[in-house]
């Protein structure tokens, strides 16, 4: 085959079908035919949009899946197309981001949809791409090394479509675009209010080494500049080639500027380049043509009307007003020219929010371990076999509030015991005068279970997490635990024990367990054993089975039953007379803890008051001291500095018998009022900077009617306090607004809970609900709290919704006063001038 054809040759394979458009890249050809796309030529970087091997040389490829395509545009080695629905697809070379996919992949050989685009028109330069979207907004991406995107930045390339602010979109729209190799030209329709008509304007930008912008000089333009020559011209057609520009002007003919090394300007003078438009010679004046150029030019007669939409895009406001927005927009453009703070790629990094797992179970476990603010001491006084009789019975400090919702029967016993005291509030109230000493205050209860069983019961009550603990138990211990669970009405624990019993049964112990279950009245366990014995009768009840024989010897009453099991009918009747074991229900820990907050009224001993309320007057939000202390490290510190040791006594003895501070009762009120005063004076920011020691001293403000008064120091709203407490009790996070989420983040940080799941949740909420009115607040909050990822996400949002955000300028002005450096940080959207403007 001939490598080069210097006369046009007929291509049989593609001729005959309806051809709607043809476009050529450096080494490939793309044909639009009835909504589908056909490609051939080089596929070195996937520019054909199909996966094709090297042997496919010269083959025509119909690109699959592309339908209803209305326009194609080719760059040197990439292609864009747009569908009748305005979707934009791109494929081919992506080394400069010219596919607009935001990815760093250097090529993409399959057409990929650009999300969020609703295109009206497209154009491609050698390595850059442009899309006009609805309302005439221009988006550009790809190579920008010579300013050909017209976005004002010195970014060498942009891989995400960026909206170009060439014009004020309030009053103007981009109507048409043309791209040359490294330069671009746009036609703008600008609404003239006085004359009530749309004026056509032409702006050029990008490479101008050879004067191809037609501006009279050879300096590159990073920002769009008006092409004066074309003002008041009736432009019929435009084509930008390789370092050249051509315009067809009605009644005047074809004009060209730019590089002329091959004579491509078609002008009389043999100049190497020309920076002003000059008429192309030798084309008849009568000809109305269409021009297409690369390093050579072809003019064909105009056979069909040039398809340029004549109706301007709908403007949101036809009557423009001088608004803050439009002022800022102009300054925005000039600010961008001066410095390039907007680095979307950098911002895109470090935007990943960290997921913190729920810490509820861990905190509850620690609460049990440390025994903070316990008011009940449980003891297991029943011993099975010879279990450690010598040692002193172990004590388990627990909370009556938790018992009340998790183990009602144990709670009943506690309640009766407490009733013996005349002053029940003695156990509950927290007061500095008497200090907080477990020994003096807690009521001690003996339960009829073994220590081991009690330990597991208590663990279950607090965390529901006992699977590993019961896995180690012997059948005997398991029975004891089952009995404890049954007697104190803890059904889920009982069900877990029964399930576990089934897996520890074997032929040697089946009869023994059966006997013990009978003694303890664990009928469901008995049924499990009976079924097992029935199935393994020979082995389980053999005379050689010593444990079985011994058991039956000890419990002769069982003998009749066991022997009877050998008869299937008897066994069936016996088994059916026993209750089935309980089904293991899902954990109700969270639900129970939530109920504790709403129902355990008697044990509430703290009032958490909003920051702004007067400490002795307003009633705050009631809650439990131990919950606050176990989940908020800073509040725990506050308690410790107020009461001394608040933790359990059975592990380590209090170092000092009396930890009361030097404060006397009289001076207490004074110090409280002082604290209140100083808290009001300094803002939250300073509080955070001063560290926890100072915070700690400001939280506890005193006692009232046996209740401890706490001051909520992060200035959160009452609603936020409620949501926060819901989280503390049971990890509940309800639907919250952005305001509440910010409050919660503040609270979590102030109280030393930076790694809690609440933080993750709030950050997610904030990112999902970014809105113009809240973006600035979120930026400020995340700045204070050091949440870089959240801050970056919010800034990113701010950048992309710049104008909407500016409508809430009061918020912005407030924020700028608090954080003077924020203005600079906001992407350089905000130069000093604008800042002053806003301030005024």
């Amino acid at each position: 085959m001939q490598e080069i054809q210097n006369v046009p040759v007929f291509v049989d394979e593609i001729s005959g079908q309806q051809i709607n458009q043809v476009a050529c890249g450096a080494d490939h050809t793309v044909v639009l035919s009835q909504g589908t796309v056909i490609s051939f030529g080089s596929n070195s970087v996937g520019q054909l949009g199909v996966v094709a091997g090297t042997n496919d040389f010269g083959l025509l490829h119909k690109i699959p899946l592309l339908v209803n395509i209305t326009k194609i545009a080719t760059g040197a080695n990439h292609t864009l197309c747009t569908s009748s629905e305005g979707q934009v697809f791109s494929w081919g070379d992506n080394s400069k981001g010219q596919l607009g996919l935001g990815s760093k992949d250097s090529t993409c050989s399959t057409p990929t949809l650009l999300s969020g685009m609703h295109s009206k028109n497209i154009a491609c330069g050698a390595e850059h791409s442009m899309v006009i979207c609805e309302k005439g907004h221009l988006y550009a991406f790809g190579d920008n090394s010579l300013g050909q995107l017209g976005i004002g930045l010195t970014e060498p390339f942009v891989s995400c479509p960026m909206m170009s602010n060439i014009v004020d979109y309030q009053t103007s729209s981009i109507h048409s675009i043309w791209c040359g190799s490294f330069h671009s030209l746009v036609q703008v329709l600008a609404y003239k209010e006085k004359e009530s008509f749309f004026e056509k304007q032409y702006f050029a930008f990008g490479d101008n080494k050879h004067g191809q912008l037609g501006l009279g000089d050879c300096e590159n333009r990073k920002l769009a500049e008006k092409v004066c020559f074309l003002e008041s011209c009736d432009v019929l057609d435009v084509s930008l080639g390789y370092n050249t520009s051509y315009v067809w002007i009605n009644n005047r003919g074809l004009y060209a500027c730019g590089l002329n090394d091959s004579g491509q300007l078609g002008t009389k003078d043999p100049v190497l380049s020309n920076s002003v438009f000059e008429k192309v010679q030798g084309i008849p004046m009568t000809m109305k043509g269409v021009v297409t150029a690369s390093s050579f030019v072809v003019v064909i007669p105009q056979t069909e009307p040039i398809n340029i939409p004549q109706i301007p895009y709908n403007f949101e406001k036809l009557k423009p007003k001088i608004t803050l927005q439009s002022c800022v927009q102009v300054e925005h453009a000039s600010a961008l020219q001066k410095d390039e703070k907007l680095k979307p790629k950098q911002i895109a990094q470090a935007c990943v929010l960290v997921e913190h797992p729920s810490s509820l179970l861990k905190d509850m476990g620690e609460l049990l371990e440390s025994g903070i603010f316990c008011d009940v001491i449980l003891k297991g006084n029943k011993s099975i076999s010879v279990e450690s009789k010598a040692t002193r019975p172990k004590e388990f400090p627990v909370h009556s509030a938790i018992l009340s919702c998790r183990a009602p029967l144990i709670h009943q016993i506690v309640h009766q015991e407490m009733g013996k005291f005349k002053d029940t509030s003695r156990m509950l109230s927290l007061s500095k005068h008497s200090g907080w000493k477990l020994k003096n205050r807690a009521v001690s209860i003996d339960l009829q279970v073994s220590q081991l069983a009690l330990e597991i019961i208590v663990q279950f009550v607090y965390t529901d997490d006992i699977e590993s603990a019961i896995a180690k138990l012997t059948p005997e211990q398991l029975l004891d635990l089952s009995w404890g669970a049954k007697s104190y009405g803890i059904e889920r624990l009982l069900a877990l024990c029964q399930r576990r019993t089934l897996s520890v049964l074997d032929v040697s112990n089946a009869v023994l367990v059966y006997g013990r279950a009978t003694q303890l009245g664990l009928f469901a366990t008995k049924r499990i054993c009976l079924e097992f014995i029935f199935e393994n009768y020979q082995a389980a009840v053999s005379t050689r089975n010593r444990p079985a024989v011994d058991t039956l010897h000890d419990m002769p009453a069982l003998l009749a039953e066991i022997v009877g099991v050998s008869s299937p009918d008897f066994a069936k009747n016996l088994i059916n007379s026993l209750p089935t074991s309980l089904e293991v229900q899902p954990s109700s820990l969270v639900r129970d803890l939530a109920r504790m907050r709403s129902e355990a009224g008697a044990y509430l001993n703290v009032d958490l008051m909003p920051f702004n309320s007067q400490c002795q007057e307003t009633v705050g939000v009631p809650c439990h001291a131990f919950i606050l202390a176990s989940r908020c490290p800073v509040i725990r510190q506050a308690f410790e500095s107020y009461f001394g040791n608040i933790s359990t006594v059975h592990k380590r003895k209090p170092e000092k018998e009396d930890q009361t501070n030097s404060h006397s009762a009289d001076s207490e009120n004074n110090s409280i009022s002082e604290l209140c005063k100083s808290t009001e004076e300094s803002g939250l920011q300073e509080l955070l900077l001063q560290g926890t020691t100072l915070l700690v001293n400001r939280i506890v403000t005193g006692t009232l009617d046996g209740r401890l008064k706490l001051r909520e120091i992060s200035e959160a709203s009452l609603k936020s306090i409620h949501v926060f407490l819901n989280y503390l009790y049971c990890d509940a996070t309800s639907d919250i607004t952005a305001d509440v989420a910010i409050d919660l983040l503040m609270m979590a940080h102030v109280y030393g809970m930076t790694n809690c799941s609440l933080c993750s949740y709030c950050e997610t909420i904030l990112v999902d609900n970014l809105a113009p009115e809240s973006a600035v607040d979120i930026i400020c909050a995340s700045k204070v709290l050091g949440l870089t990822a959240l801050e970056n996400r919010a800034i990113e949002y701010f950048a992309s919704h710049f104008h909407e955000c500016l409508q809430h300028k009061e918020i912005l002005i407030d924020a700028l006063e608090d954080f003077p450096d924020l203005g600079m940080k906001l992407l350089g959207c905000m130069d000093e001038l604008t800042f002053q403007h806003l301030k005024n």
């Binding site: 085959m1 040759v9 050809t29 030529g41 596929n43």
Partner: protein
Amino acid sequence: MESHDVYVWGSNKFGCLGLGHFENQKLPVPVESVQTTDLVISKVACGGKHMVLVTQENEFYTAGSNDSGQLGLPTDVSIPFVRSSLVGDG
């Protein structure tokens, strides 16, 4: 009478002007092979080293370099422009 001439000029290193030679053209000239037929070219596209012309009758013509198959010529047999018009007539 309306002219259906196609004018070309500029770089001709790869023969993409379709003039039958490889010399750069400093001024627009009509493409002879189009002139001698009655074909009406309705679409045109210019690549880096090749050109595509499409007639009103959806006939597809290419000129220039075929080093990557961009002319859409799969075989050794390339039908010269003039012959194509004969095919079209016949």
